[in-house]
Amino acid sequence: MKFPIEWLKEIIPVSIKNAEIAQILTNIGLEVEYFDKEIIDISIPANRADCASVFGIARELCAAINEKFNVPEYTAIEPDHEMSLHVKIEEPAKCPRYIARIITDVNASAPTPDFIKQRLTLAGYKSISVIVDLTNYVMLETGQPLHAFDLNTIAGKLIVRNARANEEIQLLDDSKCTLTSEDLIIADDNKPLALAGIMGGKDSGISLNTKNVVLECAYFEPTTIRISAKRAKIQTEASFRFERGICSKMQADALKRLTSLILKYAGGKPSITNHVKDQNNLPATKVITLRATRVATVIGHYFENNEIIDILTRLGFGCELISPREINVTVPSFRVDVTQEIDLIEEVVRIHGLNNIAPTPPKAALKFKKHPDAVVELSSMQHALMSLGYAQTINYSFISNALHELFFTPNEKIELINPISADLSIMRSSLVPCLLKVLQYNQNRQIRANLSLKIFETGLKFVKKQDKIEQIQVIAGATYGRLFPKNWADSNQIIDFFDLKQDVVNLFKLSNLDKDLEFKPINGMQGMHPSKTAEIIINGKKVGFIGAVHPEVINQLELKSDVFCFEIEVEFLQNAKSRTFKNFSKYPAISRDIAMLVDYDLPVVLMQKFINETCGELLKEIIVFDVFSGKNIPESKKSVALSLIFQDDQQTMNVEVVNELFASLIGKLQAKFGIELRQQ
């Protein structure tokens, strides 16, 4: 709220510099966003309608500088005649107090006095005409919004009622508003006159020719105004105040103030005041018991009773000491935000000054936390990937529709109804699309031929499962380009599936699960290469996937290199397999190599499993040391060379035993897989 500083300084009892005013107000919760020699602009907290007025600010300022501010009292204005409008309130819950007063024979085209015009202008209001200007002036001064109707446009009585569905009104700003049955309006016998508490109607408004005015000064229930204003998408100075909750007792005084100003500057003959109220629906006066001991507990600072009473009194609260450390506090009607003891505690400490509370260290009992051995923290996984050369990225959790549809179907999408942009409207169901965008971004900014990119991210993926949305934490990585950066000592090799596979295995090594991994080829994953993708399986459960991104996706994203990626659900990396010592042999091992031609499509892991089963405990390790096809190899075959490491836990192995075992194995391999031995 913006207004001229001199107005404030005029009504407070002491002289004080502008800069000091700004600092004091800011410290007590009324943040001064701007001030200079002439104006001050204060941010009104959402729960303090009473501060949306010069009087309110003055009260706060005085409380902080140990003064009391008193709102001026106005004398009643005797009516000149008894003309009055009948006021009917059909919605007393929404409008428990409505005061109407007619003034006849005003000069609506009289000039607005300079000092008023100037104050309004500095506060950001346009000067319209004297009556309207004066209503704005009193609102700015007291915090009470008022409205003036042209009496001659009103047919019959004033009715405060709900609008009928689709009833329409043209407002003062020329906009046409279609009303609903929830909106409160001021109407006459025939038509709506104003959107109550928000904006008056154009037809019933004051013009320069107006002779007779009806002044409205009312209290409207805050939520009603808030809902209507939001629905109509209108925010006015009046609605701003009503929706935060103004004082429910100030209407008569504010109306007196306005009446006297109008009579003074626009002339006229005042009529009687028509004051309709519903006491049951008016907010009741609150009395709250404040325990001085509780203040000390919550704030950590001891306050004397009189310190507390002083502060609250200056703010307009009534205080009565009812026991050595208990005060009954009567809440003034303009403080709708104060409803419980804790609100009073805040009043005391904010005026005392938050910066005047000495910090003290808290005390608490020491407690041990669980630190299980077989749990791998996310940070360990992140550090492991960092050691393997990965750069961690952080991407927005929302992506574009197009990016989503590269990997998922349209009916899987989880869409925001109010995204910040179309590019950021779908919750990501995998982190991989975001990683691809990062690769694309960097590819376009660096010399491509030199690029060796490994990136990862940890975060939630959002997946539709039947009707529910699951939010699953995953760790995902993607690679692009060279295995090593361009360097005199490194090869020009391009990263491939098996480089990434080892990184995945290494991640699972943290959880002691690397030996339990199974990689099952999958050819139906959208967005992934059908023959270079695998599901990662542990104990029969799918925990993630790894593979090459589909060439079509690569194309669409204008990536210029193959991209490999993986994504694993963090839960399965976190729960490690517990470690127990396993004995290893102290006797020498014997190695036997076998090189063979096998069917091209035979997964080598099947042979490894078979060999392990066949050879039993004496076989300690199988090393796959050579796999190739092409030159000199028949088309439907590939060459696989394995080293078998034999070792006995109990004694030195007998070479004869190994030879026998080995020979028997070869026979079984030939029978089972149709292998052909190659020269060794």
Binding site: A46, V349, K369, M386, A391, F462
Partner: protein
């Protein structure tokens, strides 16, 4: 004399032997089957008996001397060979190393980790929770009912079914308090979302919220924790000022400014010439919130604070533009 001559020749040759091969040849020439010392032994046969012991001794002595010299020379030559080999294997140690460089953690993660560590040291627990939340956990439980002005303060992303993206990490604390018994000491870092995008705001950012609930917890404690945290994080003494403010879930509430670290409070671009940076919001947890979490609001009091991680990262590392955090340019990432 013969012996002497032979010995002297031998010694000279040994001394002048340029390499191991020549030395080997000398060895053969003198000590081989047909070598000079072998000849001397033959000569000894013809020496008169009375002279034999003397001559024999002379020969043996000469042999010893020669052998010793040989061994010595051999050692010298071997070490020369070794030295030469070592020298020839010289590397240009200034060349770049091989293999991949160490990767990096994202700067926001680094800062989050530091903040976690600072609070873990004080016995705080770290909690996390869902990012798609419901109205209850994000607003209602925090004393923000429908039609409350505070909802406009936080522009929220919504889904068609009424769920939303959390606007702060407070829901995590609500969930934690509802699922266990006080006392609580916990922090909740994580991604939060607000419908906001300009030069200093991104639609997604990172927050850490902390809270402590116990039987003897006060605003004075909160001030202590926040001041100490800032000093710990920025590694220097930090002046703060607390301004009374309004949040629906704390009462009393405060916004905390810290003296601008870029200019030590003298005024600069970073702090818009004010000398102060608005750094966090905090307050005593509103009794209504404690009650919503089934915590006895008479027995327990608590404080809570919230701070933006991205902002802290920008201040600490002097990063000029928030949007860089989410562009993931490798030249940015690799710096941390």
């Amino acid at each position: 004399m013969q012996v002497e001559d032979i010995l002297n020749n031998c010694l000279v040759q040994i001394k002048e032997a340029p390499d191991l091969r020549s030395l080997e040849e000398i060895k053969v020439a003198y000590f081989g089957k047909k070598g000079q010392f072998a000849d001397l032994m033959l000569y000894l046969k013809d020496v008169p008996v009375v002279d034999k012991p003397r001559v024999g001794q002379a020969i043996n002595l000469a042999k010893e001397k020669a052998l010793s010299a040989l061994a010595e020379r051999k050692e010298i030559l071997e070490s020369m060979v070794l030295a030469a080999t070592l020298k020839a294997a010289a590397l240009d140690v200034s060349l770049p190393g091989r293999g991949h460089a160490l990767g990096s953690l994202h700067v926001i993660n680094r800062v989050e980790q530091r903040i976690r560590d600072i609070f873990l040291d004080l016995g705080f627990m770290v909690a996390s929770g869902p990012e798609i939340e419901d109205d209850f956990h994000n607003f209602a439980a925090l004393n923000i009912p429908n039609h409350h002005p505070a909802r406009a303060m936080q522009d929220t992303f919504y889904f068609a079914d009424g769920t939303l993206l959390r606007t702060h990490t407070s829901p995590v604390q609500i969930r934690q308090m509802m699922n266990s018994e006080p006392p609580f000491r916990l922090i909740a870092p994580g991604r939060v979302y607000r419908c906001d995008s300009d030069i200093t705001h991104t639609p997604m950012f990172h927050q850490v919220e902390g809270l402590m609930v116990d039987t003897d917890v006060s605003f004075a404690n909160l001030k202590y924790i926040l001041n100490s945290f800032l000093e710990s994080f920025f590694e220097q003494s930090i002046q703060t000022r607390f301004r009374s403010s309004y949040f629906p879930f704390t009462e009393p509430s405060a916004e905390v400014d810290m003296q601008c670290t870029a200019c030590q409070g003298n005024g600069c671009r970073v702090c818009s010439d004010t000398g102060w940076l608005e750094i966090l919001g905090c307050g005593m947890i509103h009794p209504n919130v404690l009650k919503n979490c089934n915590v006895d609001a008479e027995k327990y009091t608590g404080w809570a604070f919230g701070i933006g991680i991205d902002r802290l990262a920008m201040l600490y590392y002097k990063i000029p533009d928030l949007r860089m955090m989410f562009e993931n340019d490798l030249r940015f990432l690799a710096q941390f």
